[in-house]
């Protein structure tokens, strides 16, 4: 039997990178107890826990399907058993920063779809907004309940070389992954019950209840017992598990577009007992598929007439339509300015320095230093449409340069930030892998709440900085400890 203590000796933290557990020779205080507990386990015991975790995910159907040779193979999203730990002090800082940012972003969305003061005063350029593919003219002037546009957000944070947290991107449309945050914790409870208890880890499991409370509050005021539903694109959507999970945890109906119908600007569900009016829709269908009469005419995922019911205020839609204009990767650059403009405050959490490639000078600078840059398409996510300058081939770089020259507005560049690392248990060894952090914030009439924790995504390939699940990423349980 090999003891984990011996294996820890080989844990190496790459130089010049912030490791969440170790400073190179000292274990950070927040990891003391976990490190100590892991020392006493054998490698076999850890491998057993690893397998147990995988089985738990598989049996619950928390899987996605990979197709090869015309056969669908079900895989789980990789889960690493070692938790990522955040201290209370760090968390307070993150929490305040996100609350501030969301406040400003909500005000921006209200402004941009109504008065557009921020453009008139020249803080955000008009052409930037006009050229944003997610600026949705169809929802201009719609009054949303309590002036809240972003009810649910998953803002991605990364930690740089010196331990500073940066905002990497704002996900304000239909961010996913919250079920993994919750399920990861449930799995940890089964594999490391003592460790959780000893470390006094703050609870995340009340997230669905908080969300449900907000959804109810958004219903038209005169309705005493609102009918709230979760709208899913259906069983073939990769996040379908999450949709069923949330619907079940909140006790609301999970509906598809074909279950709903609009009559006289009101939305109804088709039930065995006839039509039943729907008051609040938590939708996990993208804007462009929501209403074939207004957006993509061939969409079968949406409900014809939904926008008209929304405009009349007969149904609340969560998140609001048109939020994409605020999480565009080029608009991102102006969020610090929004915070100053709307709140008259300095941003608590900084942005990663960003170059807009529509600016010729910036473009030249980026091309010159391309080996230290990451170039991203402004309207894509999930790790797609991205070039990592330090690892791309000459040809890939040339192709990307051409694409940028052809349509510079659709690209931004950022210096490559070496994300912080966390120990992972892979193939019987402890190795350092890069991570990011996505806390889930809920914004309701009573303010902005964030469950302490979030989803830590980890790039499981050695040296990789891309954490997206579509690109070989996995996840970890995230602890905020007292």
């Amino acid at each position: 039997m090999i003891s984990a203590a011996a294996v820890w000796q080989q844990y190496l933290t790459p130089p010049g990178i912030w490791d969440e557990m170790s400073t190179g020779n000292i274990i950070r205080q927040q990891y003391d107890k976990v490190f100590e507990a892991l020392q006493h386990l054998s490698v076999e015991a850890l491998q057993h826990k690893d397998r147990l975790a995988a089985e738990l995910f598989m049996n619950q159907g928390i899987t996605f399907t990979v197709y090869s040779d015309n056969k669908g193979i079900e895989r789980i999203f990789p889960f690493d058993i070692i938790p990522r730990i955040i201290t209370s002090a760090e968390w307070n800082h993150i929490e305040k920063g996100i609350q501030q940012r969301l406040k400003a972003l909500n005000m921006f969305l209200k402004d941009i779809y109504n008065e557009q003061q921020i453009i008139k005063e020249g803080v955000v350029p008009a052409d930037l907004i006009a050229s944003c593919p997610h600026f949705t003219r169809e929802v201009f002037g719609i009054q949303v309940p309590h002036d809240i546009y972003v009810h649910i957000s998953g803002i991605d944070l990364i930690r740089g070389e010196n331990g500073t947290f940066y905002i990497l991107e704002d996900n304000l449309r239909t961010p996913s992954g919250v079920s993994y945050m919750l399920e990861n914790r449930e799995v940890t409870k089964r594999i490391f019950p003592n460790m959780l208890f000893e470390n006094k880890v703050k609870m995340v499991s009340n997230y669905p209840l908080m969300l449900h409370q907000i959804l109810i509050q958004l219903a038209p005021a005169q309705v005493s017992n609102p009918y709230v539903v979760l709208l899913t694109p259906g069983v073939y959507n990769s996040a379908y598990y999450e949709h069923t999970f949330l619907a079940r945890q909140m006790g609301i109906d999970l509906v598809e577009g074909r279950d709903l119908v609009v009559d006289n600007h009101k939305v109804y569900a088709k039930t065995t007992n006839g039509l039943k009016q729907v008051h609040v829709i938590y939708r996990r269908v993208d804007d462009e598929y929501l209403d074939p009469l207004v957006f993509k005419p061939d969409s079968v995922l949406g409900v014809p007439g939904l926008v008209s019911a929304y405009r009349k205020g007969n149904v609340a839609i969560v998140n609001a339509m048109g939020n994409g204009v605020a999480d565009d990767k080029a608009v991102y650059n102006y969020v610090p300015a929004m915070i100053k403009y709307y709140l008259n405050e300095e941003p608590i959490l900084p942005n990663v320095p960003t170059y807009e490639l529509s600016d010729a000078e910036a473009r030249q600078h980026v091309f010159k230093n391309i080996n230290n840059m990451v170039i991203k398409r402004t309207n894509q996510s999930g790790g797609y449409g991205m070039l990592m300058g330090n690892s791309a081939s000459e040809k890939e770089i040339d192709d990307f340069k051409k694409a940028v020259e052809a349509d510079p507005r659709s690209f931004i560049a950022q210096p490559i930030i070496k994300l912080s690392t966390v120990p992972c248990f892979i193939d019987g060894k402890f190795v350092a892998r890069h991570v990011d952090l996505r806390p889930y914030a809920l914004c309701g009439p009573e303010g902005i709440q964030i469950v302490p924790g979030g989803l830590t995504r980890v790039a499981l390939r050695e040296g990789s900085l891309v954490v997206n699940s579509s690109q070989g990423g996995g996840s970890k349980d995230t602890w905020v400890i007292e």
């Binding site: 049996n59 159907g61 609301i252 509906v255 088709k270 065995t272």
Partner: protein, 313 residues
């Protein structure tokens, strides 16, 4: 309840019941076929006729080849009624209604799906563990019934699930009985001994009940009575109809529908036809039309029911 959800729950249980019926039949045949002398005229023929769409030529080739039959019945993805396909469909329906079934029911169906799709299953079925493996599959199917029964809340969802289950069960029983009575040309006078009926009764898990309850030597009449009219036998036609009667009443109470009257009468006719049938009048001429008639009416009812409650697209 959403019409789509009601539809999914109905079909989830229809498919699970079909899987159960097929596994029960498969197991009893796989075991009986090992006794060569006694069951010399027994083959897989009517099992293939009941649970696959194979042509007569194909059946001739397959009927004495247990390994090929098991592949066809359980694993063949191109056979629309193979266990693999049925369980996949059951799981799809469970997935679509995941927020209306319990976590336990979902995990059980999902676990069965992964088991049926695992590469080990084929190896086990082809090796020494053949019987043991079919038993294990049947055990999983029986467990499903128990898990659903002990965790699912009573209410509309449960009602729709049971409607699916008992419609399917009723049809399977008629189908299996029809095959066995066709073998004696529906001639109830032509006395067969109990060994002829043993495969049928074992396929319906009714053999022991038969031995306990039917003492006379009129084996044909006894077997017919048990599968059609014995209200204590859980796989008899009348038992399924009695259960359906309860769940139809419950669903009608909760949903005001224009077609209520039509459905009510339609079902009443089927039930009366079986409940008040004159057993003595069933003979070589009348038995086949009777079985076919009940089967067709149950199918018609199922369609009318679906049209009324599940039309959402």
């Amino acid at each position: 309840m959403l019409s789509r959800i009601a539809d999914s729950l109905f079909w989830l249980n229809r498919y699970m019941e079909r899987a159960d019926g097929m596994l029960r039949t498969t197991l009893s045949h796989a075991v009986l076929l090992l006794d060569k002398d006694v069951n010399s005229d027994l083959s897989w023929q009517h099992v293939l006729e009941t649970f696959t769409y194979c042509s007569d030529e194909e059946i001739d080739v397959l009927k004495n080849d247990t390994r090929a039959v098991l592949d066809k019945l359980l694993l063949d993805g191109t056979n629309p009624n193979s266990l693999k396909v049925i369980v996949t469909r059951a799981r799809e329906n469970a997935r679509g209604a995941q927020d209306h079934i319990t976590k336990e029911v979902w995990e059980h169906v999902n676990g069965l799906y992964h088991y049926v799709n695992s590469p080990e299953l084929e190896k086990q079925l082809h090796g020494f563990q053949m019987i043991e493996t079919i038993e294990e599959l049947l055990h999983e199917s029986t467990l499903y019934t128990g898990v659903a029964d002990s965790t699912m809340p009573r209410g509309q969802g449960w009602d729709f699930m049971n409607l699916g289950k008992y419609i399917e069960r009723c049809l399977i029983t008629i189908e299996i009985a029809d095959k066995f009575f066709s073998m004696i040309d529906y001639n109830l006078e032509d006395e067969k001994d109990i060994l002829h009926w043993r495969p049928m009764l074992l396929s319906l898990s009714g053999y022991e009940l038969h031995l306990k309850n039917y003492r006379s030597n009129s084996f044909n009449d006894n077997a017919l009575h048990q599968v059609l009219f014995n209200g204590h036998f859980t796989r008899s036609v009348i038992y399924s109809l009695n259960r359906l009667n309860k769940y139809i009443r419950d669903v009608m109470q909760l949903n005001e529908t224009e077609a209520k009257e039509i459905l009510h009468k339609m079902f009443g006719r089927i039930r009366s036809r079986v409940e008040f049938a004159d057993f003595a009048s069933l003979n070589k001429e009348t038995l086949e039309p009777f079985l076919t008639g009940v089967k067709d009416e149950v199918n018609d009812f199922s369609m009318q029911f679906a049209q009324n409650f599940f039309s959402y697209s």
